[in-house]
Structures are given as structure tokens and as C-alpha cells.
Amino acid sequence: MAITAEEAREHKDEFAITCCRFEAGEEIKPSNLEDPNIVPDLEDSGLLEIPENCLKIGEVLGAKLKVTVDALTPLTPDLVEGLKETVAEKKEEVEESFKEKEVEERVVPIKGIRDSEYVRIHIGEGKDINLDIPVCISQGFGADTKSENIVKDSALELKEDSDEDKIIRTLTRKHFEIDEVKFGDETKIQGTTLYIRENIVEEAIDSQDLVTNIELDIITPDRYGEYSNTIMDVQPIAVKEEGGLGEGITRVIDGAVVVVTGTDEKGVQIGEFGSSEGEIDRNVLFNRPGSPDDGDILIKTNVTIKEGKNMERPGPMAAHRATDVITQEIREVLKKADEELIVNEEEFVQKHRAKRKKVVIVKEIMGQGAMHDNFIMPDEPVGTLGAKANVDLGNVPIVVTPLQILDGCIHALTCIGPASKETSRHYFREPLVLETMNDEDIDLLAVVLVGSPQANNEKFYVSRLLGTTVEAMNVDGAIVTTEGFGNNHIDFASHIEEIGKRDIPVVGMTFSGVQGELVVGNKYMDAMIDLNKSRQGIENEILSNNCLTKEDAKRALAMLKAKMAGETIKKAERKWSSDIKMNNIALIEKATGEKIELEPNETLLKMSEKRKKIYEKDK
């Protein structure tokens, strides 16, 4: 359809295609031209082939048609006379989603504070002068009005930005190696052996009305070839030694993880869109942030819940809570385990990086109800006790620290079967949070969790709240991630819009590939990272296959830096192709001199029956 003069200006560098039949001699106006937004669709459907010498909209406006042309004719110099001499020669060299240039390490002057506005306290001579300067400005606490004045102004000065980097807090992880898990009379850790009390299963069953049975199994690597019901979650076993979630010391077990699986009484998998049941080694992509590492012992519960409850919210929740009865007992012994058994200590540092670009990470988490939910802020890492479900919290944005994410502040209730959903362990090892937090060019302020509700009006509701939350942070850039695809893309797009319209550069990350094509879009979604790793660009129900990894985090950060530096991001190709990603990786490697390790995908695994029959008939 014809375009308006304004659209013509906006798209002056896009191809000029006629929208209807036009007669020779007619002057070319915006109303004669096709909307550039649908040109890719026209090309894709074979209705249009654009020749190399096709003119741009900015060039043809005002020119005259020499011959009568049919609708959907790409205008070329031989069809038009009186062309404008414009910048037609300017061609982009980089066939890519973003340009090569890295962000300049330029120190941005702090807005709003001129030298003269500083309050200078000069004390010429004196003794025992103590100035207690509170960080917050509240009213009425200074007894003496004079000192209150000083206090206020000094606090203001502090708040804007300090000149120096500052460690906000640290989190220490103490690792305990476990290489054997056995059943015993009591739960205990002895050396590198973890004993689990044999009769704990009955207590776990009794703890939940909806749970009718639990089989607790200890899967050692030699049994990875065995069948498992759909994996609902992979959880690290961790407990606080000191401090609350996100600070202090956390103890964690290496070499063994808890895996929640289950069905209802009729054997129906607890999963909605897809499920990962089958031989473990064919349905799990090991070594992803969210999956078991190759060699991990799987402490696997196979929970049976009442018939038909697999698709209702209390069903999967009960399976998780029952499993957590077992995990909680292990946590308690881990808490008391001998210091001698610590094999490794790791420190995570949350830093304020002065005068660097301030960035916020927004993680959209599932909140449609049923098995799309998450427990937030449990007492213990990835626990259930003390936590609230984000569905109950109304899916509204919740601000947490990067260290809280890495300390298990999310217990994922998401139906994990699909390859693009994030497990609890994923958050515990969240690569984007890690990369951003450790990036010397970036001052990571916070992580915002926002649920993805079921109803559209609620989606926009939480999205508007996200907009105001991010606005209040006064950031220079944002990265929005989501898990899964389809329904949640509506709010994902809306989040990006809410941030983008506040003039904040924003990068989006989602599984898209072929199957997860975005259903909606807006003009702020011009910098997107596709999390797909599968060969065909599809959701192939292999655990964690298409989840966010380190390589994705690096691409997102590079893209965000480019965008914050005012670079334009090149439009992606119309059709999904892994070449785009490979190109981006090559560009980043070239610019930074750092090699980026690419994650392997399902082609590494033996092929399951499901893949043979459903997804990969071509193989």
C-alpha cells in the first residue's frame, strides 16, 4: 500500500517499489510506493525480485516515470527520469546485524553537576570533627538545622556518582566435592560420600496432598542411557553458611544435582509444550548453565501426582515442594559439614564501576500459571521455604541484585521440557549476569525479574510497570531476556518498547530460530540476539539446548555497547540463518582479540526416537 510523506522520509534508504500500476509521465510520490516494511514479505513469497540497481525511495521521489509500470515493480534507472543526485553510493560494508566498531571507552561527563555546584566544606583548623553523612536524605534527623543543610548537600554529591569503583558486596561459594551418593540410615556427608536417609521419601510423599508417590533414584553417569520422565528442574544443592541470599557465604555441592521429574497417575508427563522424557543422554544437553554437567550424579525424584493435576498449578508445585523436603535435609547436613571437605572457594564481586555505562538486566520469567511459575527469594538457595511464587506476586517487576540471582533467588517451576526454558541451576550459573557483572566497561546496577502473565491486558500492565522501574534507575542501557517463545513474546516485545521509548538503548535476547519467529514487534526491537543453538532452528525438547549461554551473553553485550555508542545495528536477514550469529561472533573476536567458545548442540547427542520421528526426518 501507498506510504505517507513521513514514512517516505523515514525509509528514504529503502528500495523504491511501486505499489500499484502507474502511468508513464507520472511524478513519483510517496503514494506510488510500496511500504518498505512488507517488501521482505513480498520477496519471500516470490512476488518480488529486487535487482541490484534498484533505486532508493529518497532518490526517486519527485522523478518521473518513463514507462507505465505494473504494481510491485522495483524502480530502476531505466524506468525513471529526473533522478535526484543523492547519496546513492553510500553502501554498508558490513553484512551484519551490527557494526564492527566497539564502544569507545569514553568517560561520560556526569549529567547535571557543574563544578560550581559542589558544596565544599573547608575546615581550616579544628579538632575531633566528625561528619556522619547518611546515604539517604530523609527529613528531620539533624537536631541542628545548620548541620542538616550540610548533610543534605553532601549526600547529594555522593549520590550522583563517585569517582572511584566501589565493591558493593561479595558472595563466596564454598564447594564440597561429592563423588558418591548412597542411601543410608541418616542423611550425612562423609568424606566425598553423601548419604540420603532411606525413609525420607515417605515424609516427602506425606508432605503434599497431591503427591501419591515418589521414587528417589541415584543416577550415576553409567546410567545416563536409562529412561527418565520429563525433567522439570535441575537444582544445585546449596545452603547459606553466612548472610542472606546474595551475600555472605554459600556452600554448594559439586558432582551431584537434584533433578525433579514426574507424571500424573495416568503417566501423563508434567509438561505443557513438549517434554524431555526419554533416555537422559539423548534428551539432555549436558554442561549448559541449566543442565547437569557430564559426570554429575543425578539425585532424581520421579514424582507421581494425582491424575489430571499435571496441567494445574498446584500439581507441579507439589512435585517441587515434595522434592525439596529431601533437598532441605541435605542442605542441613551440608550446612554442618566439616570445613576440611571444602575443595574450592569462589568469590563473586558486585562492583559499582564509576563512570561506566549503567546497565540493567531484565529477565522475563514465566508466570502464566500452571507449570509456568517461579518461586522467588527462598530462605535457602533454590529452596521453596520462605519463597513467594511470582504468579501470586502478580508478575510485577521485582528488583534483585546480580548476586541474588547467582545465589539461587529463583526456584524455577517452569515446565522445563522445552529446550528454551531456564532451570533453577540456570539462574545459579546465569551467564549474562556473570558476564555483565564482570565486564570492566559496564556498571551493572541490578537485575529486574518480571513475570509473563497469561492474559494480554496483564502483560501490558506488568510491562508498563517495568517501564517506570527502569526509568527510575536512570540507566544507559538495558538487556531484556526471555525464556520459551510464542505467547511470552508479546510482553517481551512490550518490555523492549517500554524501555526503548524512554530513549534507553535496549537489546533483546530470546530463542527464535525458525520455530520461535517473533509474533509481534516494534521499532525498538532492532537489536536482537537469537538464543537458538539447534541445527534446524527449532524447539526440539532437548533440555537446555536453546537456553542462554556465555556466547550469547558476549554477543548481547557487544551489541548493547555498539548501540549505547550510537552505532546503528544492521537489520537481520529475512530468513533465519546461523550465518548471522557466526558473523557476529567473528566480528567480536576480531574486535576484542578474544576467542569465543561456541556451545555444541544436539548433533553431539545420540538421536532419540522422538527426534528421528518428529523433528529430524531429514537425517
Binding site: 500499484c20 512488507i38 514479505d41 513480498l42 513469497s45 516470490g46 512476488l47 505494473d70 504494481a71 510491485l72
Partner: protein
């Protein structure tokens, strides 16, 4: 749900009922068949026959309806299936499709008419957007039946979404091609299409067969596919409702409306009628005819339009009739509605007599009408009502 199914919904003679009053019928059951040129007619609901007249069969539908239907009987070939299913030209003409397709084009052309020419109508576009494949399969069946070597889908480029939707599905097919029609009325006319696509000017009254082509509306193609693949008779119609009605001012599409339901029930499904209104037109704005709340959907009903009130013009009208638009009878009706009187009547210069009908020589290429206007004026006309498609 009560339905009133007319026995003449096609070109030809009225079909003869094969059911009796008080008889129970199933959805899809044959209820009338033609003696001579015509089409089989099937019940669009499960119910009991309430009344059988020479013009229609009324059926009292049961409260509970479902998607099940009586399949048409086994047939030897595609053409027979199309005949059994009672497929007729759904674009409005209603010519029995099995008769039209009973020909060998020996390498000629099949044209899928997706012009959807009448203003506001958009159910054909909706069909192409939602299910282009059912249309393409129908097109392929017709190619096979008629031994055609090439098919065209003609569409106005302004209908981008529909066009892209169907183009995607035929991308790899070298035998089917999309052709653009100019965005004007009556570019959906068969003869306009042949002129635009094949460059052939058909004489008035001649059929596309003369140019070795058949033209089928896209909904007819859908019905052909359903008859052949699902053994489903024609018991539903796609329609557009538009005009002075809440929620459908710019047209609202209903796909698969049971044949025989009343205009009133369709209006109730759409929204409040905005009063005052002029009339209810069954069909498109140009070629439709006046209906009322009791009018029913037939195999050829394209739309229901609730029009603006008629302006008052108590004057002497001259009328100028046109094949593509309103003809004398319709123009007289409108003049009367405005309170005027018809004092003179003539036809557009392009109209030529073919048999006992007037046909246009060059549809869509309209002549100047000065001579005709002077003629009307001479005969006392103070105002002119024109049925011509262009001014």
C-alpha cells in the same frame, strides 16, 4: 436454528425437493435435485422439515448442532463429486460448476478470481489469508479436470496480506502464477480479467471458454476441494456484513455461514443496526439487490449491506443503466425511494444487445456519457441516476 433453503440458488431451473414435510434430515443430506440445468441442494442443519414449497424448503434445526455432515455419495471422478456436492459459482453468478468445468482446455488456462471487486466485501481475502492451500488445491483439481496447462490467480495488489499468503504457497509451482488486476470496479468481471491477464478481448456475451480459459471464484475452488477431499456438499457460504451496523462499519467477515439462515440472525450476530438506515442490500453494492430481514443466505450471497438513508429528491429523474452496475429496475427502485419520478430511461453507450440481454462491450473502460445525458435532458430529466461503474 431455522433455515429457509431456496430451491433456485443457481443459474437454471429450480431444483425438485426430495424430502417431505415433517421428515427428519441430517446436515449435509440431499434435499433437492435439479431436473435439467441446476444444482443439488443439501440441508445445512440437522433438523425436521417444516415446510416444502415450490420455491423453498424450511427446516427447523435442532438446538444441538455439530460439525458432522452426510457425505456425498461415492463418485467415479472429480466432476461427479462437484456435481453431487452442488457446487455453483460462489462469486455471485451461480453457474453450476460441474457444467462449466465439463470441458477440455487442451493446455489452456484456469483463472482463480480473487479480485473481490465489490466495495467492502472481503471474505475472499480472508479465505486467502487463512487457508490459501484449500484454494490452491481446488485450482489444481480444476486444472486436472479441464486439462489446463497453466493457472493464474488474479488479485488486486492492494490486498497485500492475502496476496502474500497465497504467493508463499505457490512459490515453487511453475504452473501457477499471480497476476495483478487494476484497483477498480469491475476488474473482477470475467471479461476484464481475460483482457488483463491474457490480453484477449471477448465479445459481449461470449464465455471465457472462447479464449481457452475458465474462471472460478476462489470460494468456488474451496468448495471444489471440500467436495473432492472431504466429500462435503455446499451447505455454507462465506459472507461480509457491512454498513450501518455496529462493529461492522468497514465490513465484518463470517466464514462458513449455514445456507438458509436469515439476514436478521446474521445482523444479530454482528451488532446493533444504526438507525435510521436506507435499505438492506443482499450482495455487493454494485450488483446486489434489495432484501429484507427475512432474506436468507444462498450459495451466491456475498454480502449483507445496511445502507445510508436515502436522500429526498422529489424531482424528475433520467436513468442510465449499466451491465456492471445497477440496471433499470434497480435504478427505478432507488428513484422511488428518494421520492422522485422516472421520466426518461436509457442505457450506457457501451451496452449492446446479446440475445435478450444487454451486455457491456468493454467492461471497466467507460465512455463519455454527454450524449446520453443530453438525451435524458431532452426527455424532461432534471436529475440523473446512473448505474454506470465509472463517471
Amino acid at each position: 436454528m431455522n433455515v429457509k433453503i431456496y430451491l433456485r440458488q443457481h443459474v437454471g431451473v429450480a431444483s425438485t425437493p426430495t424430502v417431505e414435510e415433517n421428515e427428519e434430515v441430517l446436515r449435509g443430506q440431499l434435499i433437492a435435485k435439479p431436473k435439467g440445468l441446476g444444482s443439488n441442494i443439501h440441508s445445512s442443519v440437522h433438523g425436521v422439515v417444516k415446510k416444502v414449497s415450490k420455491d423453498f424448503i424450511e427446516i427447523d434445526g435442532f438446538d444441538k448442532q455439530n460439525e458432522e455432515f452426510v457425505k456425498i455419495k461415492e463418485t467415479d471422478n472429480y466432476l461427479e463429486a462437484i456435481k453431487e456436492a452442488g457446487v455453483v459459482g460462489a462469486g455471485g453468478a451461480g453457474f453450476p460448476t460441474h457444467v462449466k468445468l465439463d470441458t477440455s482446455l487442451k493446455g489452456g488456462y484456469v483463472i482463480a478470481n480473487a479480485a473481490e471487486c465489490e466495495p467492502t466485501l472481503e471474505h475472499n481475502m480472508k479465505l486467502l489469508e487463512e487457508d490459501p492451500e484449500v484454494v490452491i488445491r481446488g485450482l489444481k483439481y480444476v486444472m486436472k479436470i479441464t486439462n489446463a496447462s497453466k493457472a493464474f490467480i488474479v488479485i488486486k495488489p492492494k490486498n497485500k496480506k492475502a496476496m502474500i499468503s497465497i504467493a508463499r504457497k505457490i512459490k515453487e509451482n511453475r504452473k501457477i502464477e499471480i497476476k495483478f488486476l487494476p484497483d477498480l470496479y469491475p476488474s473482477g468481471d470475467e471479461r476484464v480479467i481475460l483482457r488483463e491477464v491474457l490480453g484477449v478481448e471477448l465479445e459481449p456475451g461470449k464465455l471465457p471458454l472462447e479464449a481457452n480459459a475458465v474462471v472460478c471464484n476462489v470460494e468456488t475452488l474451496k468448495n471444489i476441494t471440500l467436495a473432492i477431499e472431504d466429500r462435503k456438499p455446499v451447505i455454507e457460504k462465506d459472507i461480509t456484513i457491512g454498513g450501518k451496523i455496529e462493529g461492522a462499519k468497514n465490513g465484518k467477515v463470517f466464514l462458513n455461514v449455514p445456507i438458509g439462515v436469515s439476514t436478521e440472525s446474521m445482523i444479530n450476530k454482528t451488532g446493533e443496526v444504526i438507525k435510521p438506515y436506507g435499505e438492506i442490500i443482499m450482495g455487493g453494492a454494485f450488483t446486489g439487490s434489495r432484501g429484507n430481514l427475512n432474506s436468507t443466505i444462498t450459495k451466491t450471497t456475498g454480502g449483507i449491506a445496511i445502507t445510508e438513508s436515502f436522500p429526498t429528491a422529489k424531482t424528475s429523474f433520467g436513468i442510465l443503466a449499466c451491465e456492471c452496475g445497477a440496471q433499470e429496475e434497480r435504478l427505478e427502485e432507488i428513484a422511488a425511494e428518494m421520492g422522485g419520478e422516472v421520466v426518461a430511461s436509457t442505457k450506457c453507450a457501451r451496452m449492446v444487445k446479446v440475445g435478450n440481454q444487454y451486455k457491456c462491450e468493454k467492461p471497466g473502460v467507460c465512455p463519455g456519457q454527454a450524449k446520453k445525458i443530453l438525451e435524458l435532458k431532452k426527455n424532461g430529466a432534471k436529475a440523473v441516476l446512473v448505474g454506470t461503474c465509472q463517471d
